[in-house]
């Protein structure tokens, strides 16, 4: 693999970590990669985004109902937060926590506002990761699974 390419990938990852987009969990996932699952991290991220879309939908719906069921909202968000923790989406999780605090306070406006932030972080991370994996794949056939080691 092109050394520069690898470096580029590593830098990107470093940046994501430093900026708090990702945390140690992401590194953990990378460490799980092996011959059986060479693209494990990417697979997990893909699974996460597929599933989280559904969870966000639930929250969206719950937020739209009147009166708002904060307990339900809290549960949904809890679910989403748990899912986000699987790939180490730190920023997303932070917003989730904030959201749940608003739920506890039964603050509808706070919830709605924070939810927007959750979605934003969620989408933003997705883009960055897509770039990251694209870069990894470009590095060569095996680059995608081994970059970052």
């Amino acid at each position: 693999m092109d050394k520069n390419h690898l470096q580029h990938q590593l830098d990107m990852k470093r940046s994501l970590l430093d900026q708090g987009y990702l945390d140690e969990q992401f590194i953990q996932l990378e460490e799980l990669e092996d011959d059986d699952n060479p693209n494990f991290v990417e697979e997990m991220v893909t699974t996460f985004y597929a599933n989280s879309a559904r969870l966000l939908q639930n929250i969206e719906q719950a937020l739209g109902s009147r009166p708002i069921d904060f307990t339900k909202l809290d549960n949904y968000m809890h679910q989403f937060k748990g899912s986000s923790s699987s790939i180490g989406a730190t920023r997303v999780q932070k917003e989730c926590t904030l959201f749940m605090e608003y739920c506890e306070a039964a603050n509808a406006e706070g919830c709605i506002r924070t939810f927007r932030q959750v979605k934003q972080e969620h989408a933003s991370l997705k883009t960055k990761l897509e770039d990251y994996f694209k870069l990894a794949r470009q590095g060569g056939p095996s680059a995608g699974g081994q970059a970052g080691r």
């Binding site: 140690e24 953990q28 997990m44 996460f48 809890h78 937060k81 899912s83 699987s86």
Partner: protein, 580 residues
């Protein structure tokens, strides 16, 4: 560790540990699977709690440990935890992204052997085998204690068994010396054999249990004792110890059933925080867990008549004095103690159980009255809720009064209940119930009287009902005196823990020990299960089910002595469980 524990998969323990992972999040499920595989464990994944239960039930000895997320769509993780603990007696690890103390506490109360926070690191998973190992050690020790020596062929490590590991049955004391040889045997043993220790236990089939019940009936509950039962049953290969532990479980089980039933009805609308009194009042935990379960595990708030049952107060109050308040079972001083209805119930109770807390009037008096009145009408299991509603009403009233004073001790409740009972059709078994209940909740001798009272009450009615079902299937009223005897026996069980326990008629049960804490906690599960509206259990009103119950129960019958009430061994009332 490594030495001697060889799994059937011909790898050395803990490799090959059979783990069942339950998580509704597909990402986590895959990640955990990968991590566990890297630990050389044998992994099975499951996205639904019900599916997990089915898997576990299909292959009773198919798994060594269960890891489950707390939040799941089809079933609350805590509930699953209960089920697994009760039915399969497997160690369960809970997971959650929420590390709040209350949640963790709840997990522990429900019997989780560990609580992991997400994101989970692989190193945390590497060590989960310790929970399996620990359980095995305890099991073996328990087996040693009350199973015939011949039945014991496993030994984890000769050094684990010190002198205090008494060999009962005394069948063959010489074999005791062979303990040292265990090391050899155990080297040859597969790890899987550890779980097969259960095979050496008595399996109480439906038939066997029927005989047992028949024998108990014949003898009369107040006179029942393992030896008598054994003689009557006339089963040559059965030992007195087997019967003793079965009897213990049976009693406790019935009590729990009753309690659960009562609680379900009475506390249907009452929510308790999931944080029962931390230290002292075990009862809190008991009750809270019960209520929580019944009402909605997700609800951590205490909504019990507005009084802060467990929630905030709980944290603030850890001592006895506080507990009373926490219990929030207001016992209005103004309320006429049960004594009014039933002369001097307090004394009885006191004698039965001495608690740090004054037994307090806890409005339970009123409760009991209600309860008592309704019991006769309630009889059929399925009708329990009716009573409950009355009781609940009373309870609510009481609660609102605020928990004023701590009853002199749980005993009061008992007494009251007892008195109440005697004054009515219902028999005295109730008396016993409270004791047990209190014991459970009060294992640390801190029981909020109110709580106890209420618990007792429900337990009583339940046990009464239960007993009737088992002993007099055709009966629809709790009138026989039999339950009373049973209860007395039950009291016996609690004796060690109680300060002033009524001398039980049957002193065959070993003293409680700390294990009981865990036991009753887990037992709560059982109760909860029964009381839950969405119970998937068999029809309560079916008298036959009781006979069936033990079937499963004895799959794990062992550690009776250490924990008279081992919830894990109590079959949940689920016909589906009785898979032998």
């Amino acid at each position: 560790m490594e030495n001697g524990f060889s799994s059937p998969r011909s790898e050395s323990f803990p490799a090959g540990l059979r783990v069942l992972v339950v998580d509704d999040d597909p990402t986590w499920l895959k990640i955990l699977e990968k991590m566990l595989k890297k630990c050389a464990y044998e992994v099975t994944t499951c996205g639904l709690a019900r599916e997990a239960l089915n898997l576990l039930r299909e292959r009773k000895d198919g798994y060594d440990i269960v890891i489950s997320d707390v939040n799941m769509p089809d079933m609350d993780g805590f509930k699953l935890l209960e089920h697994v603990g009760l039915e399969m007696d497997l160690p369960v690890i809970m997971m959650s992204v929420d590390g709040e103390t209350s949640r963790v506490m709840k997990g522990v109360q429900h019997g989780a052997c560990d609580y992991l926070l997400k994101p989970i690191r692989m190193k945390e998973l590497r060590n989960i085998w310790q929970h399996v190992f620990r359980k095995k050690i305890h099991e073996i020790r328990d087996i040693d204690h009350h199973e015939s020596f011949e039945g014991i062929r496993l030994s984890i490590n000769g050094s684990e068994f010190s002198e205090d590991c008494i060999m009962f049955s005394g069948e063959d004391l010489t074999s005791f010396k062979k303990r040292k040889d265990f090391q050899n045997k155990y080297d040859e043993r597969d790890y899987g054999d550890l779980s097969s220790t259960k095979k050496h236990r008595v399996v109480w089939s439906v038939d066997l249990h029927q005989k047992f019940v028949k024998a108990v009936n014949q003898i009369g509950f107040d006179k029942v004792g393992p030896k008598k039962i054994l003689d009557l049953m006339n089963v040559p290969w059965l030992t007195r110890e087997n019967v003793a532990s079965h009897l213990q479980k049976y009693r406790l089980y019935l009590i729990r059933l009753q309690k659960e039933n009562d609680l379900k009805a009475s506390f249907g609308g009452i929510k308790h925080s999931d944080v029962p009194s931390k230290d002292t009042s075990g009862g809190f935990g008991l009750q809270s867990s019960i209520h929580t379960n019944q009402n909605d595990v997700a609800n951590d708030r205490d909504q019990f008549s507005g009084s802060n049952f467990y929630g905030q107060d709980l944290d603030a109050k850890n001592n006895e004095g506080d507990q009373e308040e926490i219990v929030s079972e207001p016992r209005p001083d103004s309320k006429k103690p049960l004594t009014a209805d039933v002369p001097d119930p307090q004394d009885t109770r006191s004698s039965q159980m001495s608690f740090d807390h004054s037994s307090a009037s806890l409005g339970s008096d009123v409760n009991y009255t209600e309860f008592d009145c309704s019991i006769p009408k309630q009889y059929p299991w399925s009708e329990c809720p009716e009573v409950q509603s009355k009781q609940e009403h009373k309870l609510l009233l009481q609660l609102e009064d605020g928990f004023s004073q701590q009853p002199p001790g749980v005993p009061q409740h008992y007494i009251e209940i007892d008195q109440l009972q005697s004054g009515r059709d219902t028999s005295s078994p109730i008396k016993n119930e409270p004791v047990l209940v209190e014991y459970k909740s009060h294992h640390e001798s801190h029981i909020s009287p109110k709580e106890t009272a209420i618990d007792n009450f429900s337990v009583q009615s339940k046990s009464l009902i239960a007993y009737h079902q088992s002993f007099e299937p055709s009966s629809t009223a709790i009138k026989s005196m039999k339950p009373q005897a049973v209860d007395l026996s039950c009291i016996t069980d609690l004796e060690p823990c109680q300060r002033n326990l009524i001398s039980p008629s049957d002193l065959t049960f070993p003293p409680f020990n700390e294990d009981l804490t865990v036991c009753w906690l887990q037992g709560d599960f059982l109760n909860k299960n029964f009381g839950l509206p969405n119970m998937e259990f068999a029809d309560y009103s079916d008298p036959g089910f009781i006979a069936d119950i033990p079937v499963h129960l004895y799959d794990t019958l062992t550690s009776d002595y250490e924990c008279p009430y081992d919830p894990t061994e109590y079959p949940i009332v689920d016909q589906g469980l009785f898979i032998l």
